[in-house]
């Protein structure tokens, strides 16, 4: 059962391979590699953190935390678990959602006030990072999802809510929320195939 367990993140092609080499250099304490990795991914990490936190300062702090964690744990990066980009974005999502939860538990939060003033998903794409065809398909697929599926998925992805929390937020049965998210993800996975 382990015949393709070595299949690496290189499925995406050249850029992923270059990322793997950078993480290898990072693991050996090469600060130049950290700079290159930053140049390749900071824009995407910042965008995700900003989309979750809706606050530029907090999002920049998350960027710093992401690259610190990547620096510390590069020695333990396991390519078979996913791409370097996915790894960095996963750290970013976790860190940003941790902050969001901490903010939610503080009554004096200013997040809601900032929400409408921050640039969100309508911001034009930067040319810093070339979105692959597959990402474009996921994005198109997301827009095409039925609203109730998209909302449930976005609450899980961008706000880090558990399925029970989403059910509560949307006043819907837990089973319904599970189905919505599963259907949404199945549709998006299907959209990866040309």
């Amino acid at each position: 059962m382990t015949r393709n367990s070595h299949l690496q993140a290189t499925a995406i092609g050249g850029p992923a391979d270059a990322d793997l080499r950078l993480v290898g250099r990072l693991a050996s304490g090469d600060l130049d590699a950290a700079g290159e990795l930053y140049d390749r991914h900071a824009g995407k990490v910042l965008a995700l953190a900003r989309r979750i936190l809706r606050d530029q300062g907090d999002a920049e702090d998350v960027v710093q935390e992401v690259f610190s964690q990547a620096w510390r744990t590069a020695t333990r990066f396991e390519p078979e678990r996913g791409t370097v980009a996915a790894w960095l974005l996963m750290i970013a999502r976790t860190r940003a959602i941790d902050r969001l939860r901490a903010r939610r538990s503080r009554p004096d939060t200013t997040g809601d006030v900032l929400l409408d003033r921050m640039p969100g998903h309508t911001e034009p794409a930067s040319d810093m990072l070339i979105a692959s065809e597959q990402y474009a398909r996921v994005r198109q697929g997301l827009v095409a999802l039925p609203a109730e599926q998209r909302t449930a998925l976005e609450l899980a992805y961008f706000e880090g809510l558990s399925q029970s929390e989403i059910a509560e937020r949307l006043a819907a049965p837990l089973g319904t929320i599970k189905t919505r998210i599963r259907t949404a993800l199945t549709t998006l996975r299907r959209s990866l195939r040309p």
Binding site: M1, T2, R3, N4, S5, H6, L7, T10, A11, I12, G13, G14, D17, G29, L31, A34, Y38, G43, K44, L46, A47, R51, E60, V63, Q64, F67, W71, R72, T73, A74, T75, R76, A85, A86, L89, M90, R93, T94, P119, E123, A125, S126, M128, S132, Q134, Y135, A136, R137, V138, R139, L142, L153, A156, G160, S162, I181, L185, L188, R189, L192
Partner: protein, 274 residues
Amino acid sequence: MTMDRHDTIGAMLDEYALGQLSQDERRDVETHVRECDVCATDLRELTIVMEGLAPDAVTPPPALRQRVLSSLATQPQDPPRISDDAKVVTLPPKGARIRRGVHSGWLAAAALVILAFGAALYFSTASRRLLIEDVQEAQETAADLQRRLDQYAGQADLAVSILTASDMQPIAMAGRENATASTARAYWSPTRGLLIVADQLPMPPPGRIYQVWVIGGATPVSAGLLGEQGSGRGMLIAPPPTGVPGGTVTVAVTDEPPGGLASPTGSIRLAGSL
């Protein structure tokens, strides 16, 4: 792996990808995914979906780069958990064992005092939580090491059984298209399976992976995905795919979408026949 377990874990993959599982549940998923191709493929696709959901990149303020990089210079890095080229631990020869005697007894007592003092200090601070985390991490490392050992042992066993099978026949494979510089060799045993090693293989086209096919009859049958070993080396060790009739076979490698397909659609990059 039981089907029950496969189904249970399969139903948890969405939540895993969305970061909604507890640490124990995450570990269960990670253990299973290492052993199950189907779930590994599903999770890889979900990972691409997760990446795709992230918004487009924005331009970070120039000062942030300096701030991030200068903070790294002072941070230590974690020691590697384990790696494929894991360091060999050399045990001292038996004769080198420390002789127990009066001196070593005093040394041991002194060491105990120091340890006790250190431990008291350690526990008296907020470091206790760190210690627990360290222990958990050590346990994870041990479990991880065991999983990898099992995995490599299984692969090595299969490779040996293929290479030593009485019906094993080597097949020289030739590169095609952009892979003409590649050298590859397949070892096919209808009863034990297929071992294929390719060198100087170019990177697959963006968004594609290499899939291996065994063609015995009219229909090519997938043998699995060619694992990237770095530096253009690809390898697959797989049991014999079902549905390959006996007799002459052709082994071919094509590029396909992530996760592979049931029948080939991409260009043939390597091929060879008995």
